[in-house]
Symmetry: C2
Subunit: 138 residues, 2 copies
DNA sequence: TTAAAATGTTAGCATACTATAACATTTTAA
DNA sequence: TTAAAATGTTATAGTATGCTAACATTTTAA
């Protein structure tokens, strides 16, 4: 059985995915710097993520995501992007705050809410771009 | 200095406030039952909340909120209500899931996002109730 | 090519939260 | 009014997360 990842572990995956996109590789030091934690904390997290099949990490070597780890990272990134866009572009929340809020919410939002939000955002776009909104008749 | 409360401690305050509203009083057993934890866990949380001035709890007696505790509980409840309403009434997320999501988000949403959401919900209501929406002219 | 610097790892400790089990107090009902 | 039941508390332990300090390895630059 595979327990759900904690928020912290999800953040490690997300960070590793980001570093791989940016630098092609991810190192312990980059991860700790980006996340504001110590190398030792990164190591411990990596051990857990390795055991559970989300990352590959050879001693003193680079850190890589397994397919399973990449899938989780992509999923979270997708949530973050949508939440950030909703908060910033639709609600008008300031960039930094919108990002901070999105980074917390991405770990807790349910698939159902995510789906509804995607639909809602799409509908809003249509309204704004294509036609005036009609009052819904009861 | 007063550190921010953890999500867990905020939940204890929220539950105590709920029980006081419903039953006039809050007891350790009611709290543990509602939160799905053991009495011993409640006790430890109450000790922390007492020390930090959020609750009053005499040994073997009822649990009460200080003014400070009540203010925090009210604040969180306000956030929960707004988030639930947005998720359920506007996005159309099913009741139980909307509540579950709101109960997580209420601990992380920033004041800025909260304010923007209140404004947005108000605007939507106006649109739906008073007049068709005009496309915003650039 | 080797010593210093940079990076990575491990051991031991701290905080937050929850649980179980043993014990204490209060409430209840016979 | 007192024994049983209900409720509350404490001691001890486990999981998750982070830190510092000591140590190991790799990279670098002289």
């Amino acid at each position: 059985m595979n327990k759900k990842l904690t928020e912290s572990l999800e953040n490690y995956l997300e960070t590793i995915a980001f570093l791989k996109r940016e630098n092609k590789i991810a190192r312990v030091k980059d991860i700790s710097k980006m996340m504001g934690v110590k190398n030792s904390s990164v190591n411990i997290a990596l051990n857990v993520l390795s055991e559970r099949g989300y990352v590959i990490h050879e001693r003193y070597g680079y850190v890589d995501l397994t397919e399973r780890g990449q899938i989780v990272a992509d999923d979270i990134q997708k949530k973050e992007d949508l939440l950030f866009s909703f908060l910033h572009n639709i609600l008008g929340v300031e960039k930094e705050i919108a990002l901070k809020d999105a980074c917390k919410m991405e770990h807790t939002i349910s698939d159902e809410t995510l789906a509804k939000l995607i639909y809602f955002v799409g509908k809003l776009d249509n309204k704004n771009l294509k036609e005036p909104v009609k009052k819904k008749t009861k």
